[in-house]
């Protein structure tokens, strides 16, 4: 067996080293779902009546729906009555120092290059008052509020800014949208809310790291980001911290709204537990992410680097309503072992002169399956709409699969649509060439994979790009022969 094949074998046999389980007390409801459970969730969260009603409507609608099976993923049926729908994280145990934290966790943080103080916060270490008053998060919050930017958890937003939430919640992803989105609408636990007012350019990246008490990821997250006229915001959905969750099913909803001349950049680096090498115990990640470019000249870009989850079902999309609006999708999806990913995007062109760009890079290793599914729809009124799609697949080894499903619907003769697709393998000749220059097979694979992803990585904010590179290296690790 050649060197590179060995690497492939090792990659395929690699285990998730970053999982950890935190034993924390939770306030749980019994398993199962019915109207009473939903009322109870809403009540526990002290929500306004309209919110409760909305959840109930979503639930009633969900009952009429069937689980979708059109994607290219296989899994055993999910018993929706066997899930606990509310489990509020109680206060996390407070540690005295990082030394008390799971050493594996700390190692992972170090590998990811997360600064010490940030590591403490993530690990749940008590931060002393002196430090806290000057902490990144505090100064950060002050700066934001001076500018009128709201950034808090969805629960907090429902208490403090109910009308703002009411105005936009469900306006991009209605509760009737799809099976998982309906379920999420009925039972969502928490999530982020960000609001950037007219003319304000958010001076820093908004990251979930900075959302106090939010290091616990809920099973049904709901995120809403609104950029008013001329506003700009870059949001980082950080999941680079290792997460092993007892919840198998994750069905999040993310809604973005960009008004006239506004721009939203949404970046995700996701490293959820993919399951063991046979795929057991991994997370099912069924997410609905959609952005509405509602205003003229508005712009929404999605950038994602996905390396985790057993099953990923995810299509961050843009509805290009405003004239001259721009939608972008940059994605790296890596699957290994038995992981399955069916991801892609939808670009719906409605306004005139709307433009969209899709750059998708799939990497499959082990016995995994990686599918790209992209839809470009040009509606009747979308004069001079343009789309450019590039979908590349990289195969590592010969037991994995890559599939591309582009759907194109053009109802306007002025549309210009370009689609390019390539499939490549890391060739033994490439590995040997790098070996001959003194580079080990593992580093060779890493260099090639990083090179392949470069176009996407350069869309990420600087520190995040570094993390993404490291994360990919971590997923490729363990092949020193």
């Amino acid at each position: 067996m050649s060197n590179s094949e060995l690497t492939v074998e090792k990659l395929a046999n690699e285990q998730y080293k970053y999982g950890f389980v935190t034993e924390i007390e939770t306030d749980k409801l019994p398993k199962g779902l019915n109207e009473d459970v939903i009322r109870l969730i809403s009540e526990k969260k002290n929500e306004p009546a309209w919110m409760t009603e909305w959840r109930l409507k979503a639930y009633k609608h969900w009952l009429t729906m069937k689980e979708p099976h059109w994607s290219n993923v296989k899994y055993n049926p999910i018993d929706y009555q066997d899930i606990i729908y509310y489990s509020a994280p109680k206060k996390k145990p407070t540690l005295n120092s990082l030394d008390d934290a799971d050493p594996e966790l700390v190692k992972a943080f170090e590998k990811l290059g997360i600064p010490i103080e940030e590591q403490k916060r993530l690990a749940g270490v008590a931060v002393d008052a002196v430090f806290d008053s000057v902490s990144v998060a505090t100064t950060f919050k002050e700066k934001l509020s001076e500018l009128g930017i709201i950034f808090c958890s969805m629960s907090e937003a429902l208490q403090k800014y109910p009308e703002l939430v009411r105005k936009y919640l469900g306006s991009v992803v209605p509760y009737t949208d799809n099976f998982y989105a309906s379920l999420n609408s009925a039972v969502f636990s928490d999530g982020s809310f960000a609001f950037v007012p007219k003319g304000v350019r958010c001076p820093m990246e908004l990251s979930t790291y900075f959302r106090i008490n939010a290091s616990e990821t809920g099973q049904f997250e709901r995120t809403l980001i609104v950029a008013e006229e001329g506003a700009y915001v870059s949001y980082l959905e950080g999941c680079t911290a290792p997460i092993r969750d007892t919840n198998q099913l994750h069905a999040a909803v993310v809604e973005l709204v960009a008004l006239d001349n506004a721009e939203i950049k949404y970046s995700t680096v996701q490293n959820w537990y993919p399951g063991d090498k046979d795929g057991k115990g991994g997370i099912y990640n069924f997410v609905t992410k959609r952005g509405a470019c509602r205003g003229i000249n508005s712009k929404i870009s999605w950038t994602q680097v996905e390396t985790g989850s057993a099953i990923t079902w995810k299509y961050p999309s843009c509805i290009l309503q405003g004239d001259n609006s721009v939608g972008e999708f940059y994605s790296v999806a890596m699957t290994n072992n038995m992981q399955q990913a069916d991801t892609g995007t939808k670009m719906i062109h409605i306004g005139k002169n709307t433009r969209s760009t899709i750059i998708s890079k799939g990497i499959s290793a082990g016995r995994s399956n990686n599918s790209y599914r992209g839809q470009v729809r040009i509606t009747k009124k979308a004069d001079n709409a343009r789309n450019y799609s590039q979908c590349d697949s990289l195969l590592i080894g010969d037991k994995c699969g890559a599939h591309t499903f582009p759907y194109l619907e053009t109802n306007n003769p002025t549309a210009q649509v370009e689609h390019e697709a390539t499939t490549s393998k890391i060739g033994t000749d490439q590995i040997f060439y790098l070996n001959q220059r003194g580079i080990s097979t593992e580093d060779a694979v890493r260099l090639i994979v990083n090179g392949y992803c470069k176009e996407v990585f350069k869309q990420l904010p600087m520190e995040f790009a570094v993390e993404a590179t490291r994360l990919l290296s971590m997923s490729l690790e363990g092949s020193v022969g």
Partner: protein, 252 residues
Amino acid sequence: MLEIRNLHASVEEKEILKGISLKVNAGEVHAIMGPNGSGKSTLANVLAGRPEYRVTVGEAKFEGKDLLAMLPEVRAREGVFLAFQYPVELPGVNNTTFLRTALNEARKYKNQPEISAGAFLSMLKKKMQVVEMPDTLLSRAVNEGFSGGEKKRNEILQMAVLEPKLAILDETDSGLDIDALRIVANGVNKLRAKDNAIIVVTHYQRLLNYIVPDFVHVLYNGRIVKSGDKELALELEDKGYDWVKDETVTAQ
């Protein structure tokens, strides 16, 4: 420096090298010539450790160490460099990053500190001048979309940066225009020193006007059938390979 004894090698069960013996001392330049398909590239690749080639009999010592027991990357770090007959494209892998990674691997191996980005760039600038390579090629992906001649020059640039003890150049001259040929030959001559050795695989006497060899060997059907000095190359140019082939037949 390099001592090959009775080397036999096969690819896919087919024997290609059928008993090669060759001694290369420090400071020497050896030229290997021979008809297409005679096994020249195979020999070069076997020395570099290409996994597809299986050595069945024989040995190769590099500075007294068992070369064949080393992984390809270790051979490289020890100072064996192969300029490929067909350089490989590495889409997305930045040429400068690649060169620096390669150099640092060799330095780490020798327990030397990694070279800083600044020091590397100024060193690289000098080497670029030697091969008269435009800066633009540095910011591109390794060999991707390079012309045939640019790929060959890039090989010589890598050699200049890595400063190997033993450089094996597999038809680095083919596909080069007259000017490029002189530039590449210059680059090779710069490496020529009493501590280094070079093996040049070529079809053309032309290159040997620039890189004057100490020895010339003719490889035919997996064996070295004739060795001589630089005059042998001129003779081959003149008479072709048939007379050497005939000689082998008679010898057998």
